[in-house]
Point group: C2
Chain length 365, copies 2
Amino acid sequence: MSAQSSTDGDAAEAILARVRARGGAATIYDIAELAGVNPSTVSRALGKPGRISAGTAAKVRAAAERLDFRVNPMARALQTGKTRMLGLVLADITNPVVFGIVRGAEHAAAAAGYTLVIAESQESGENEAEAVERLLPSVDGLVLATTRLSASAITDLAQRKPVVLINRAVDGVDGVLPDVGAGVVELVEHLASSGHRAIAYLAGPDTSWINARRWSDILAAAEERRIAIVEIGPNHPTIAGGRDALRRVRAAHVSAVIAYNDLMAIGLMQEAAARGITVPDQLSVAGFDDIFGSELIVPPLTTVAADLVAAGGRAVRAAGRGRRLPAERGTSGTAAHDVARAWVDRPRPRRMTSAPGVSQAGTAP
Amino acid sequence: MSAQSSTDGDAAEAILARVRARGGAATIYDIAELAGVNPSTVSRALGKPGRISAGTAAKVRAAAERLDFRVNPMARALQTGKTRMLGLVLADITNPVVFGIVRGAEHAAAAAGYTLVIAESQESGENEAEAVERLLPSVDGLVLATTRLSASAITDLAQRKPVVLINRAVDGVDGVLPDVGAGVVELVEHLASSGHRAIAYLAGPDTSWINARRWSDILAAAEERRIAIVEIGPNHPTIAGGRDALRRVRAAHVSAVIAYNDLMAIGLMQEAAARGITVPDQLSVAGFDDIFGSELIVPPLTTVAADLVAAGGRAVRAAGRGRRLPAERGTSGTAAHDVARAWVDRPRPRRMTSAPGVSQAGTAP
DNA sequence: TTGTATGCGTTATCAC
DNA sequence: GTGATAACGCATACAA
């Protein structure tokens, strides 16, 4: 045993003490010193297994372990340009619809070694633009859930960093679109077979792409079955928004309502109950999203479900592997970029008792 | 007009083109070139207003604007040691209890110019430790909500970075403890005056600090009023956990149950309904947290509320301004650190119809 | 007030 | 296979 090896423990202690004294964490320089190699060798040993001899690799790993080393993500990011962070921008964190998205996104991010940073826009396009600008320099990619940004703003954004949309389709930008078309058809079918001849769609925000999509799906399904269909709105996509809409619903003389989302459906049901209107006997109510709580209220809410956890996960994985679209090389003119085909997620709608694709539909009076 | 100024636009264009060509963002070097000053002057002009002449400051700002400059957070962090990021670690994102915390935390973070990164531990201490280690190098501080970490692990952590706990008290570590003591007293009082003589507490996880606290509050309040009180558990803090507990609740021959949280209360009510036991006529059920949905279910759930949004906000602000406890300077021995006094948040419990401090308490049979 | 020089911790590009 | 050195973008002592 050489004098060298007999002092190894002390050497480690000395370095450790120095590290603590400067109040920070151990660096690859500390490891290099302890292992008796060059810092660049440490970086390689830790980063690219295989391109280094087994012996030194082991020495380096041991030293790193001994000093409780963890790489500094900022220093790495500065050099590589990759932060290993993904941004998730949501309209409203308290909206139960996004819970699934957040969970799916967080899991997928952690699994892929990414850190998830989130921001909320409060349903305001201005706030959202601000949040996006704030996040953008720190992340490798961005997931925008039910964004209120304009298509052109999104296109511009996608030129800078990989962007993945949830519940929104923009040409040339990746998107995850939970497909509720089949669920809508089955819901309308179910309402029709239950005797409903006049239905209202309680619209959400008119800036919402998914709102437009739901309306057009419902419109088509109703037309096909020769059922009367009217659109009422736009409304706030909240319980209060649903409450406020009851009067117009009653005035429309329909026997069933499909709301833009479960929150509005719940609000409508609450207000109906307050006015002595029984659901579903006097009014059938259905929503979208299958939020937490829809199975708890009485009567159980009819809702068309989409797998938001999967959507969040897919979006994050796409954002992580994504590269921004190549920018125009020319000196002037409009940028000509590849048009990536938006891909569509097709989860099976949740099947429950009464109607396939929808859960527990109410019956007609 | 000099040739210089007549070519300003072209100069900017040229620099912009170069920036685009290298596929990144503009740096202070680009600004310095365009404004005709030194990079360090740019840094100062943008960072410390006042310590620079008004003229050059304006020039620099104009150039920065022109080049659409945003500082690189990684480069800044590498130099300053501050990332302007805060970590929020949650046991379970899908648990409605944490929604308020997340929202409050996100708002406070954005308002203070911090970026919030979140991680989920899935109720597992191991996962949580892993998530913490993953986040730690990237953040200036950490907020741990209903953590499953041991007190010693938390103390160690607090030595490295500022740590703020929510729903957990550890000596020497800052914490936000929504005070539900008053609400508990009023709830028990209400149950007593409604005729209940025997109550059960449906316990949560035995590793939960807040669970122990709730139990001791309830125990004291019941003792004082000479009401029989029993603890049943531990149970999973979920709807399923509540469901599974019904049998033991019935076996205990109590007329009222206070569950560890609303989810368990809901599960208990669901199972009771399934077994033909009417709530609140045959069994009164109360919970904690006032989660989303508790006002939607029928009958309305009795619940003791705490202002979690405020708690999340306070925790983030504390973490942002916090400094880690000074480490021991000596060469050996136990570190002697300041013991920061944990401070307690005292929100007013939500007041609703029946009982002060609790919302819509059920009545005794 | 502004310019010069240096360092933050890592990866990448050369040599050897 | 390993070492030396530059570079990432910014902030900051120190000089001028």
